[in-house]
Amino acid sequence: MDRRLFLQGLSASAVAAGVLPVTAAAAEAQERSEADVAKQIAASKDSSPVRIGIIGPGSRGKELVRNLLRVPGVKIAAAADVYEPRFAQLNELCGYEVAAHKDFRALIDRKDLDAIVVATPLGLHATQVLPALKSGRHVYGEKTMAYTVEEARAIREASGSKALYQVGHQYRYSPWIRAAIARVQAGEIGDVTHIAGYWFRNNDWRRPVPADDPGGKLEHLINWRLYNQWSLGLIAELGSHHMDIANWIFGANPTAAMGSGSICRYHDGRETDDNVQVVLSYPQGKRFIFTSTTDNAKMGDQLWVYGSKGSLNLTLEDATFFYEPAKVKRVATGVEKGVTTSASYQAGGEMPYRGPGKPVELKDPEDATTIAIRAFIHCVRTGDRPIADAEVGYGSALCVVQADKARRERREVEVPA
């Protein structure tokens, strides 16, 4: 069986047949996959030294470091960044001095690293991940895997059992999302044909830049998300997580993408849109839609998975199932009792369901990033292939890059295999 489908808990035949994998094979695959996950995420008994180099210890990089330092035996041995203040911040976080490099190549040239974390702006990922993999080091690369399809392919090819690659799609490790998706794959909400992702925020997406910034260099470095040079905007920064989950649930990558976007609210010199929509087409007519705005936070960050028998709501903290009203039932025939007429009209059938759902009950769900990082170190130590491997990264990179292309070209574009 295809490794990726195996890890997604889907049998190839079930996917090919376009049916949900309620088959025994799929259930077994799911179980094996859960055993694989359990092994990777278990609290580590091994505390053998693992030396990490980090490229780009910015806001996400520091969060990854915090989590790395929760794994016994891990030491942050070196860091590379082009923004000087990062080094002091990192030292404070680690409580010891981390060797500092202005050029990431010097970090990759070091001989004392077991693995490298890349948490720089998207446009730089491939230029740093590729030489890191080629140097034989395992890599944890932040999402989105790469800025172009070619770069994503190159990373997929460069990674393997000698140089493992794990992508920063930590929701693959989230206990409640795993538990909920396992139930969806077991058929709990019927056939899923439609997934909607909302990521709404109400702020300008800017970070403060020191006042003294000749030529706007720091503005571009710190607010890189707002400029095309390194960023694919909201589609990449927020949408990529949702697209990864859609790929996971549908058990396939999309075949086509449509996109639209505008700068609607913040006319402040930014280049990336502050209001974005995407439609991804999957085999058998299935669809994922994504919408993101930056001036209304009502919807927050959530996904809705719609199936013929019910719906699943996924958030950053929990998962909740809702069920469709019961359909026709065959009843015993007998003497008709008659029905009373009235003038009532019921809008009920078309009204959105506003009642409570059934939350996925889990004992002690752990933070997804904490788990993803622990699993990465497990793989570094054992050589096991990461759950969020290069295939996972490649799938969501395809979605992001092609959706962005569609947005720019204002047409539907094909998503290559």
Binding site: L69, P208, D367
Partner: protein, 336 residues
């Protein structure tokens, strides 16, 4: 000559700059945010709404981050992970969480257990967590006491690990120090954002006065006097320091006419009697938060001995009996 003129100009420009960026040209902004079971509110001076908004956003994001680290309600927090795993095996944690635990244990050691973040199971037995206060029976208390005691928390600084001795099912509860810790983080962050004057309040129980409102000597903070019939309060001016208050006036229950307070003496395993309110001023909000419990629980003499050589630490303890104990206290309440 030319040099003198241009340097004069520079001085003038600098003055103008100083004026335009000084707090005098600033307006005051307020915002609040609920986290860690309370409401954090911030008042700050900024040049415009946009920069105030960014500073507030940064500050509240930081509070949420600390909440994600230390909450004992969120199963995904780092502290919850420690509570789950430390009975089984030493848990390696990040330097920030480790430093937080070290600070907590330092105050436990210094106060000989008057301050103890492991006291949660006792509070639970007394029903303080679910508004179901009642005096528990002795056997329940005896069982819970087994799970309490800071000296059973084993910290290994070499590998940053935490373990509970003899596999005890303990519970670390940040309630008596975590808010101060969050406030300190916010202060550091706001200073880095260039904020010169702000008042940060964690539900009023811990406040930090950063700088002072323009043209004043400090942020006014009111300390109430809950003793019977006094009804008085005093207003203190604070600048670059924090004040934390512990009181039995809000969280308590009454059974058979007796009032039981949510602040516990870990040694007796019982609620504190007689003390109504404690307040501590200290440049560190983490410390003032912890110390407000320390001075609440400790004998006044012992508390004074403990804090005598910390001139920047001030405390005030008010008792139902009418007694008023203080050390270095800037106010006059005990002299009234």
């Amino acid at each position: 000559m030319g040099g003198a003129v241009s340097s004069l100009k520079t001085v003038a420009t600098l003055c103008l700059l100083a004026l335009s960026t000084s707090a005098y040209a600033q307006s005051k902004f307020v915002q609040s945010h609920s986290a860690m079971g309370t409401i954090y509110s911030i008042e700050l001076y900024a040049n415009d709404a946009a920069s105030a908004d960014h500073a507030m956003q940064d500050a509240f994001d930081e509070i949420d981050r600390v909440d994600d680290l230390l909450s004992n309600y969120k199963p995904s927090s780092e502290l919850s992970r420690i509570n789950r795993e430390a009975p089984l095996t030493p848990v390696t944690t990040d330097p920030e969480t480790f430093a937080f635990l070290q600070r907590s244990m330092d105050w436990s050691r210094a106060s000989e257990g008057a301050f103890d973040i492991t006291v949660g199971p006792l509070l639970r037995a007394w029903g303080f967590f679910f508004h179901a206060g009642h005096v528990p029976d002795e056997s329940r208390l005896a069982t819970e006491r087994e799970r309490v005691g800071w000296q059973h928390v084993m910290l290994d600084a070499r590998v940053r690990s935490v373990a509970f001795a003899d596999h005890r099912e303990m519970e670390l509860d940040p309630g008596s120090i975590g808010k101060g810790f969050a406030v300190d983080r916010v202060v550091t962050l706001l200073r880095a954002d260039g904020v010169m004057a702000a008042l940060i309040s964690a539900g009023g129980s811990t406040v930090y006065a950063l700088g002072a409102p323009p043209g004043t000597d400090g942020w006014p903070v009111i300390v109430r006097d809950p003793r019977d019939g006094r009804g008085k309060a005093e207003t203190l001016l604070l600048k670059d320091t924090s004040l934390s208050t512990g009181a039995c006036t809000e969280k308590y229950f009454i059974q058979n006419g007796h009032r039981y307070c949510h602040i516990f003496n870990p040694k007796t395993g019982r609620p504190m009697e007689d003390v109504l309110q404690s307040s501590v001023i200290d440049p560190s909000a983490t410390d003032s938060d912890a110390l407000s419990t320390v001075v609440f629980v400790m004998e006044p003499k012992a508390a004074k001995r403990l804090l005598a050589d910390r001139p920047q630490t001030e405390f005030l303890v008010l008792r139902a009996s009418g007694a008023c104990d203080s050390l270095h206290w800037r106010g006059a309440i005990c002299r009234k």
